[in-house]
Symmetry: C2
């Protein structure tokens, strides 16, 4: 089988190494990340545990605070104001509804390692890459979409011969999932980098792209009438994040030699993907945690600027 | 029957009159409100039409812009930057999911007549009443919750003998609906004004209050195990906003002489409410539109400060 399977741990390793040396070299000592766990969700608890473990590896001080959800907002406000705290992560879902999106905006942008506050999301959608006019401070990108970009860079989907910002020009990508936390921002990021992106969810297919000749400064979104099975054969890269165990991509619709990346907690690709794909990345979680730490270091640096 | 039924039109009339004379007196001429309609929702279209009609009555220039939803974000950004536009309203739902909450934050706070952007919501939850330290600029409050406050002031539920900010001290209120757009902010507003508020939805009952002796500077939220039918008999005021036709409050659970206010598009109180209530307000929509205009005038004023 010519398909090469790449594990997130291997891809994360170089980032972890880089983080470790950057942190060891800091004049102020290691930065502090505070995590808030305000639910009983087993995935969230596992993610928190995992954050702690990887922070230990790189030297970041990680402090997990368990709070009840009614006290969470106040606890975030306290951490926003505490100079000893460099970064904040909240393990969602908390209320599981729009109140969670409110909470994402309660986290100060100066400490938002997840990149979920409105300012960072807005900049990402609008292809604004720096926080300042002097281009000293790069924007913070949401961790999971950023992790997937890093995975695609690692496995050669981004073409480094092309100018920065256009390195996906010519690539056709499907993103199966259009959640506000991962799928939609990911489709926008990839399209802003030059790809033609089919964003697929249960309601239909949209195209995110910068148009012919990537002439636009940022992506536009258009609804299309094609169905998923009609667009998947056109895609060089298929990225899935469907949060249900029963969902499986029909690999017979994929082009031979496709690049397949799964970011769902469940395996969205069946085993037959190995007969179709040239590269297969079955999960990205470990890269996501590395990106969280990368965002933390960046914010800790900005706090001194 | 001793129950007095008050129509929103009657309550709105004094605000409309006030608005008319304030607008006529403006040195710069009437302010401009831009409404964006990006859906086919009949309620939204009706609300837009209604905004136009009431703006005509008060002298506000209202411009309805129909855009497709994929172009809406850009259209809002353009209006944010256009000095001829004093206020912006978006007729939701647009995408009907979390992307709508993203759009609420795309509207500039300087033009957000609906009061739905994070800054205004945050201030409201935190009982922060001014935008500046000099207390020259009052915060913008979301229109529907503000309309209900004004209704409660009009019908004497707010006790003007008490100090400003504490005028609901001693009142017990139920708010049936805990949506992020109306129910939750309303419960917070009333609790910040001193009430003990039972916030009721299908998932259970929460209490919003500033505690014994309204000692806290802002409300806290606590989950309670009581069911709706156990707390409703304790309430002086029952406010409903359940968006389904079939829902009706069981009036046998209400205390005699209760104040009943409905903000749903459907009648949540059955006719038997008139045997129970002392005051009954079957809808608030017209007051909401008056509050929208009030917010517009306020923002137009701030734009010159």
């Amino acid at each position: 089988m010519p398909c090469k399977t790449l594990l997130a741990s291997g891809i994360a390793a170089k980032f972890t190494e880089e983080l470790r040396s950057l942190i060891a070299a800091r004049a102020d000592g290691p930065p502090t990340l505070v995590g808030f766990l305000a639910n009983e969700d087993p995935f969230a608890a596992k993610y928190a545990e995992w954050t702690g473990k990887t922070c230990e590896e790189t030297g970041i001080k990680f402090e997990l605070r368990r709070v009840d959800r009614e006290s969470l907002e106040e606890a975030i406000v306290d951490a926003n104001g505490d100079v000893r705290v460099n970064g904040i992560i909240v393990y969602y879902p908390v209320f599981g509804d729009r109140q969670d999106q409110y909470l994402q905006n309660v986290v100060s942008p100066t400490k938002d390692v997840e990149g979920l506050c409105h300012q960072y999301c807005y900049n990402m959608y609008h292809n604004v890459r720096f926080l300042d006019e002097e281009k000293q401070r790069k924007c913070i990108i949401p961790c999971t979409p950023l992790a997937i970009v890093k995975v695609l860079e690692h496995i050669g989907v981004y073409n480094s011969i092309l100018p920065y910002g256009d390195r996906l020009h010519g690539k056709t990508v499907a993103v199966i999932n259009r959640s506000e936390v991962v799928g939609r921002p990911l489709a926008a990021l990839l399209a802003n980098d030059g790809a033609k992106v089919y964003s697929v969810d249960v309601n239909g297919v949209q195209v995110f792209s910068r148009g012919p000749g990537i002439a636009l400064a940022r992506h536009k979104v258009a609804e299309v009438s094609e169905k998923a099975e009609e667009v998947l054969p056109l895609c060089d890269v298929v990225i899935t994040g469907v949060p249900v165990e029963s969902y499986k991509v029909d690999t017979s619709t994929l082009k031979d030699g496709v690049v397949a990346v799964n970011f769902s907690s469940y395996r969205n690709f069946p085993d037959s993907i190995k007969q179709k794909a040239s590269l297969y990345v079955p999960s990205v979680g470990k890269v996501t945690v590395a990106m969280l730490q990368r965002n933390l270091l960046r914010l800790a640096e900005y706090q001194h600027m």
